[in-house]
Subunit: 491 residues, 2 copies
């Protein structure tokens, strides 16, 4: 156990570096004045370089080798050692030159993306994206060799260990078959929305957001709510920093955004305390993370029971309004509206945005799809899934997301896998606990969170998402629960 | 130059680690929820351990050695290399065991100090302080051997390079001779203060504080003002974070605190941009730092001209009050009031608090003064300098400051050396620029700051405080300017 102990210490140190990185990154998004950006970039890059150096050190290599010969008995330790080795292989299989080139190319492409997206200038942007994709393919091939996965599966595995196209494609095929019809049915029966009366003061939105966080179980002695341009859940499990953004003209986005990020936060709070500093104690998988935020946002906080809780709070916070009614509030929060922009999409059309990206990025990585074909293929996909066209509106088409220029290929599917997991977990939870709507009615979020902690949060990275789903729900991930849920909710 | 280039890169990386440390420490004091404390301590301690490891590495040793043989030509580079070597020697001359023991003992003593100070329990606190002092003496002897300084001078040199008892003692002797009589004279002529009418809303104090910062020249694109329990100037030169604290019952502390910290911030902003990541580009000396905050606070912001600027702003912010008059405001801001507590002391009595501490800590380090003699000696000193007694009130006597339990011996003199420097720099600046009061009248803080940048800030750590004073004022540091200033202001 001596080598394994030494490994644990080395990984604990890496965890402390991640702590620094997470808080500095939060500060950058939430607190930092603009003039500090350059110095912060350099500081973060040194910190990451140092972590990488420690991870790739001969000490790490040698202790890993001898720890594997020691023979561990605890299942936690065995899983931990397996994850340590995976992280080591991941860090060492990519040549430094490639890592640097990728880091440089993505920084440049993100920067150009900001300019050229605003100008709707695909021509100028394309070579930067091409460069990123070229390097991502090189990386995918290295990972593919190391982990014996196909190149695109190797990228998927980075964000969601165990996820692959063999699992994904049939799930997505079912969804893309079912959803367009469903959306049409919903649009045919959907009533027009009655508008609310702005303004909704920001301080009041913030206070109400914090009240909802407290209701769900957010521990304010271990976290904060702040404001950033793009909402996120950051910080560390011991000190979770979630953010939202406010608009005086409407309260819906900030409140539901807070509920979503609180779902991420509850997962972080619930990770196994004894292993937090170890790979096995940390959140392993973007899909599971997203399942937790969506379960809270979509499953719990857009439910009838929650809207019933919310209504009197809205009246107390903003004063009564003629259109503050259960029915109208529900209509607003469950409005289905196909549109060009993924981040504005509703629960029902969101997966179609993801499927479009999945199909294209898979071909980019594995089939040598030419980057210059993207705008036309995007338009084609939008027509097929949404009856909408982006034509030459690339700003709101292929150029809308920062993910690709920033090199994140294999990430998008996590959003929809998370949605499927959330629905399937909700169903299993209801099977054990009885009506979730009733628990929300009684404000027993503690009971719901205890179930999630026991079945998901508390396992950390011990299982892949597939093993976790089988343990928690008795079956592998499929689309039934999600499709049942949306049919029940929207039809 | 190859080795020197490599050294510069190594020190740049250490600077990035300091960046991370500074922002994490700021966050800890300003943003962090209580529950995050333990994880943060561990993260900071790993970060510092890693920096120490890099500083003490064979690579550092070897490149230092070969860089010294390369022969540098630029004065900046020569100064930089000298400082690099000093930092290396400082880090390597202390055995790891001692560093760890000191870190452990000071953490423990600070922790006990919080409890036992509140309980006025000297008996229980004494052994923890003794342990710290024992280890500080060990450290002082090591530093003394390495840098050929007496043990206490070696500690002084850590905070204010070049400061020593040969310089300090005569300056302090003059002050302790002159100040008690001066204080008595002021007390005899001082009028009673007319109270202001609270409350003074915190948001309004904060807005006015930011207005004053802007007036002095604080660059909000490179810094922030926030709230913390103890006001400080933190962050990094590219992103300076100052803090203050508010009390609705009075506005004077927060406003003057903001001016003080803005003085520190202006120094950080003015450091030489080309060398920021190198030892020679960073603020080298607590005494110089304190001179800049005191020059702004005491020299500029408690002046008649500034109070004339402030008055209409106060009226605009809080509404008119019968006692908002130039004379009464001035009386408040220049009130002399001998008391037990250093941090509450005015400009005139503050040095006496420092001298008492200096005399005691010097004996603790160099003369084997017994720790159990401190309460009686403290009481004796208070009687001698202030006509006040602490008797058994150790909470407001020897136990009032956290500096000693936290191991900071040799730090206190910086406060008073800073005050002497501030007065002497003010005098020299007035000799060159003409009436400073008139510049303040005309709101030409840019002219004042340009002089400070040229004569102090822009030199970074290139000179010791003594060299800097000779360059900026034409003579070594003495007490004349300070005593002239306080006589003119208070008599």
């Amino acid at each position: 156990m001596k080598s394994y102990q030494s490994l644990k210490e080395q990984f604990e140190m890496l965890y402390h570096m991640k702590h620094a990185d997470a808080i500095l990154s939060w500060d950058e998004a939430v607190m930092m004045p603009n003039g500090g950006a350059n110095a912060r970039q350099h500081a973060l890059s040194s910190l990451r370089g140092l972590s990488h150096e420690k991870m790739c050190s001969p000490l790490m290599r040698d202790t890993l080798k001898s720890a594997k010969e020691e023979g561990l008995s605890s299942a936690w330790d065995i899983a931990n050692l397996r994850l340590m080795e995976k992280q080591y292989l991941h860090a060492t299989c990519l040549p430094n030159k490639l890592v640097k080139a990728l880091s440089h190319a993505t920084l440049e492409a993100e920067h150009k993306w900001r300019t050229y997206r605003a100008e709707n200038n695909w021509q100028a942007f394309q070579p930067y994206l091409e460069k990123v994709i070229g390097l991502v393919k090189e990386k995918a091939i290295r990972l593919s060799d190391t982990f014996s996965l196909s190149p695109y599966d190797a990228l998927l595995d980075e964000f969601s260990p165990g996820l692959n196209t063999r699992v994904l494609s049939p799930l997505f095929d079912t969804l893309k078959e079912a959803l367009p019809t469903l959306v049409e049915q919903v649009l045919n029966k959907q009533k027009p929305l009655l508008p609310f009366n702005p303004p909704f003061a920001i301080e009041k939105q913030a206070a109400l957001g914090q009240e909802l966080m407290g209701l769900i179980g957010f521990d304010f002695s271990r976290g904060r709510l702040d404001v950033s341009h793009h909402p996120f859940c950051g910080g560390v499990s011991e000190d979770v920093r979630i953010t939202t953004r406010y608009d005086e003209k409407e309260f819906m986005t900030s409140l539901m955004g807070v509920c979503h990020e609180t779902g991420h936060a509850m997962y972080e709070f619930g990770l196994p305390a004894d292993y937090l500093s170890q790979p096995v104690g940390q959140a392993p998988c973007m899909s599971i993370h997203e399942s937790q935020s969506l379960l809270v946002e979509m499953g719990l906080c857009r439910s009838n029971a929650f809207i019933k809780l919310l209504l009197p709070k809205l009246v107390k916070t903003f004063g009564a309004q003629p259109t503050f009614s259960l029915e109208n509030l529900r209509d607003h929060y469950l409005n289905v509206s196909p549109g060009l922009i993924r981040v504005d999409a509703d629960e029902l059309t969101y997966p179609l945005h993801i499927i479009l990206r999945y199909e294209l990025e898979k071909r980019l990585i594995e089939d040598d799809l030419n980057v210059d074909a993207l705008p036309a293929l995007w338009d084609e996909g939008m027509k097929k899934y949404f009856n909408l066209s982006t034509a030459t509106d690339n700003k709101n088409g292929v150029m809308q997301d920062v993910h690709w220029p920033s090199g994140a290929f294999g990430y998008f599917p996590a959003y929809t896998i998370g949605a499927l997991m959330a629905a399937q977990l909700y169903e299993a939870m209801e099977g054990e606990l009885g009506s979730i709507n009733q628990l929300i009615d009684e404000q027993r979020f503690d009971v719901i969170m205890a179930w999630l902690r026991k079945n998901i949060h508390g396992y950390g990275a011990r299982y892949t998402f597939d093993e976790l789903m089988r343990k928690a729900t008795g079956k592998p991930l499929d689309t039934h629960a999600f499709l049942n849920h949306v049919k029940k909710r929207y039809l």
